[in-house]
């Protein structure tokens, strides 16, 4: 009986080995490769960011906002399902077209189905005096309920008037 057990185990072992090799190969093939092309994105001079306004840096897919001379880089990607969130000038808020999530000018969560505020990038002033957005350092947006800006919509929403 020992020989039968040995052969049986050998058989199971071989099958397991082949399955593992297949799974590993598949994983290695499909494993996402980091984009690599990102990194530090040169933006604009700090003075070009308007106080009380927002400018978009297309290359970084981010917005820069200045509040009390403090500049924050906010990701354009909705934390709900990844739609690009446009800025609404009339209400001074970010309003997502996909499922109606609303964020204030600092990207803090106001309303809608999003689980948190808009994510943020590190931003710094380089040697040439321009702002650089580091797209490798994405930090989660503020939790819902955090509202340091505490500023009501300055006007009508961009989307309610559309129908």
């Amino acid at each position: 009986m020992q020989r039968r057990n040995f052969l049986s185990n050998l058989w199971k072992g071989a099958v397991t080995l082949i399955a593992a090799a297949g799974a590993w190969t598949t994983w290695d093939l499909l494993r996402p490769v980091s984009a690599g092309a990102t990194g530090r994105v040169r933006a604009v001079s700090p003075d070009a960011v308007p106080e009380g306004g927002v400018i978009e840096i297309r290359a970084a897919r981010a917005y820069l906002v200045k509040i009390d001379d403090q500049i924050t880089a906010i990701s354009e990607k909705c934390t709900h399902l990844g739609c690009r969130v446009p800025y609404c000038d009339s209400s001074s808020q970010f309003e997502c077209p996909c499922h109606g999530s609303v964020f204030n000018r600092l990207g803090e969560f106001q309303a809608g189905p999003a689980p948190r505020g808009l994510d943020r990038y590190a931003v710094e002033v380089g040697e040439d005096g321009l702002l650089y957005i580091d797209t490798d350092t994405l930090e989660d947006g503020p939790a819902p309920g955090v509202d340091t800006l505490n500023e009501p919509p300055t006007g009508p929403s961009c989307t309610e008037g559309s129908h």
């Binding site: 297309r58 897919r61 709900h80 399902l81 739609c83 690009r84 969130v85 446009p86 309003e95 997502c96 077209p97 996909c98 499922h99 109606g100 809608g112 189905p113 689980p115 929403s157 989307t159 309610e160 559309s162 129908h163």
Partner: protein, 192 residues
């Protein structure tokens, strides 16, 4: 059955069938024919029995399937001649269209996503639906077939089906910019 011609004599004008009784019997060693019993029809007499009778798939079902196939392809042909498949502008990662719509069969999910946390609407609900569907025959074990004898199963399924259809319709046709409510006859935002 007995009046059908035997293989090889299908046209009816050929030589008459040999009388089986007069033909020379095939003798198998150690066996002999005890007698020939006239065949009787396999089908029962009453209508009830007839419904449960076995009928040949060739040609009864095959001819029906052929008609169904041709009808289906005709419908596809007519729809394809009448309506062109949509093609929007080229993909642009920097501009999300407003409203952004999923394909219609995911419209119910998208509608749920506008109201619940994505873990609930995007993962738990579809997961539960699929597991529930797959487990259905192992939950409803009663022997009965008729809907009136399995009211719980039928009512549950119908409730979910109606909710799903309503959500799909709402997400598909009644949602406009910023996922706000619109009336489809006023402005149309459905995408196919």
């Amino acid at each position: 059955m007995s009046d059908l011609p035997t293989p090889g004599h299908t046209d009816g004008t050929s030589t008459p069938l040999p009388n089986p009784l007069s033909a020379k019997p095939t003798v198998i060693e150690g066996r002999r024919v005890l007698g020939i019993v006239p065949g009787k029809p396999a089908a029962g007499e009453s209508k009830d029995h007839a419904e449960q009778d076995a009928v040949m798939v060739w040609p009864h079902l095959l001819v029906r399937h052929a008609v169904v196939a041709v009808a289906t392809l005709l419908v596809v042909l007519i729809i394809s001649l009448a309506f062109d498949a949509p093609l929007r502008e080229i993909a642009n990662p920097t501009n999300t269209p407003n409203p952004e719509k999923a394909p219609w069969y995911f419209a119910a999910l998208q509608e749920l996503l506008a109201h619940f946390h994505p873990l609930v609407a995007g993962v738990l609900v579809p997961g539960a639906i699929l597991i529930g569907l797959a487990a259905l025959p192992y939950i409803d074990r009663s022997d009965f077939i008729k809907p009136k004898h399995r009211k719980v199963a039928v009512n549950t399924f119908t409730t979910f089906l109606v909710i799903w259809i309503v959500l799909t319709l709402v997400g598909f046709a009644f949602r406009g910019p910023n996922w706000g409510w619109v009336w489809p006859w006023v402005e149309w935002h459905g995408e196919l």
